[in-house]
Amino acid sequence: MIANFGYKDGSGDYFISIDTDKCNGCGDCVPVCPAGVLEIRDNDFDPMADDKMAAVKESERKKIKYSCSPCKPEANMKNIPCIMACKLDAIVHSW
């Protein structure tokens, strides 16, 4: 499953996508994020399985455009901590 966390407003689309088929819930992405945007939690989207997944914290979801900007002053940068920390390539940013 692709879980898109974020929002769309008048200025553009801001989504962090987690591919739950790739993500194993290892948590490598959590400590590297200086803004503390990510967390590991139960995969609530498939309630019958007991999987863990990386996800954007609910409290951060609607402000990632600003929280993520120190790591990526330009749009579409790929060499940012969360993406580089994920060995399974499960994290994608939309902007």
Binding site: M1, I2, A3, N4, Y7, K8, P47, K62
Partner: protein, 288 residues
């Protein structure tokens, strides 16, 4: 007191053909949304009762009210229900829930039952957000996207327009088709801007139905841009309150060039119904 045009009717429903006392699993889902709350009760997976009410300012109380209204007249009590799942924006505010599940999973599961296993794309047009969900033949989520940063493209925006134009909210859809020529849409990025724009159009002498048509197409356009990100695969369905507004739905389908499936179920109960189905599955899992 002046009439409040945004005030949609609350309602409940009961299946008189089912004797709940004979059921082995009684499960329930309570979907506390930002604008409306629904409670659904299933007896062995069959729809037994449901209710839909306005959420108001006290979410835990509206969860209780919705549940009481669904139970009303059945002789069933809360204690008779084996498992309750809370879902929706206010899911943490369901005091009697055994568990909470995100409404995204619940809508996919509910739509799977309401429209059948051929559903691949679900658009839930809620009170304060809009969710696009892709799912498989079992109703399992494959991809989702949610927009809740602003009220454009939601039921709350429609309520604002019903009040501005003094048109009962249930009549907006039909009225929007009474225009000779389809007007250009108003601002689709913000309800407050759209309202300002509409006020200007009224002053220019636009009739009400033309302004409504311009807002319905703005809302449809807004949602289409959201759907673009995850893509639309057949079959396509719309759930939530706006699914009942033909003015938005028909313009949306025209812009997408696609048809939706029809159902005898109420489009607003999809989330609560999905939650009740998960509740049933969890009871079965526990009893094994």
């Amino acid at each position: 007191m002046a009439q409040e045009f945004w005030r949609w009717k609350e309602y409940n429903w009961k299946n008189e053909n089912i004797d709940w006392k004979g059921g082995s699993i009684i499960s329930s889902g309570v979907d506390v949304g930002s604008v409306s709350s629904q409670a659904v009760i299933l007896v062995d997976g069959e729809l037994y009762a449901y209710s839909s009410m306005r959420t108001g300012s006290d979410s835990p109380q509206s969860a209780v009210n919705a549940m009481n209204w669904a139970l009303d007249g059945s002789g069933m009590k809360l204690e008779n229900i084996h498992y309750v799942i809370g879902t929706g924006y206010g899911r943490v505010n369901v005091p009697f829930a055994n568990k909470t599940i995100t409404e995204i999973a619940c809508h996919a599961r509910g739509a799977n039952l309401m429209y059948g296993g051929s559903v691949r794309t679900i658009l839930d047009m809620g009170g304060q957000d809009c969710k696009a969900i892709r799912c498989d033949e079992k109703g399992k989520v494959a991809n989702f996207l949610m927009n809740d940063k602003c009220a454009a493209g939601t039921g709350r925006g429609m309520e604002v327009f019903a009040d501005l134009l003094s048109v009962p909210i249930e009549e907006i859809g039909d009225l929007s088709f009474g225009v000779e020529e389809e007007p250009p849409p108003v601002s689709s990025t913000c309800v407050v801007f759209a309202k300002t724009e509409a006020t200007g159009l009224l002053r220019e002498g636009w009739p009400k139905n033309k302004v409504i048509a311009a807002y319905c197409s703005a809302m449809a356009h807004r949602v289409v841009t959201l759907l673009d990100r995850i893509g639309v695969e057949k079959d396509f369905v719309i759930t939530g309150g706006i699914a009942k507004n033909s003015g938005v739905v028909r313009r949306l389908l025209k812009e997408l060039g696609i048809e939706t499936l029809q159902t005898n179920y109420d489009s607003q109960i999809a989330g609560a119904l999905g939650a009740a189905l998960f509740a049933k599955a969890l009871v079965e899992k526990e009893r094994k």
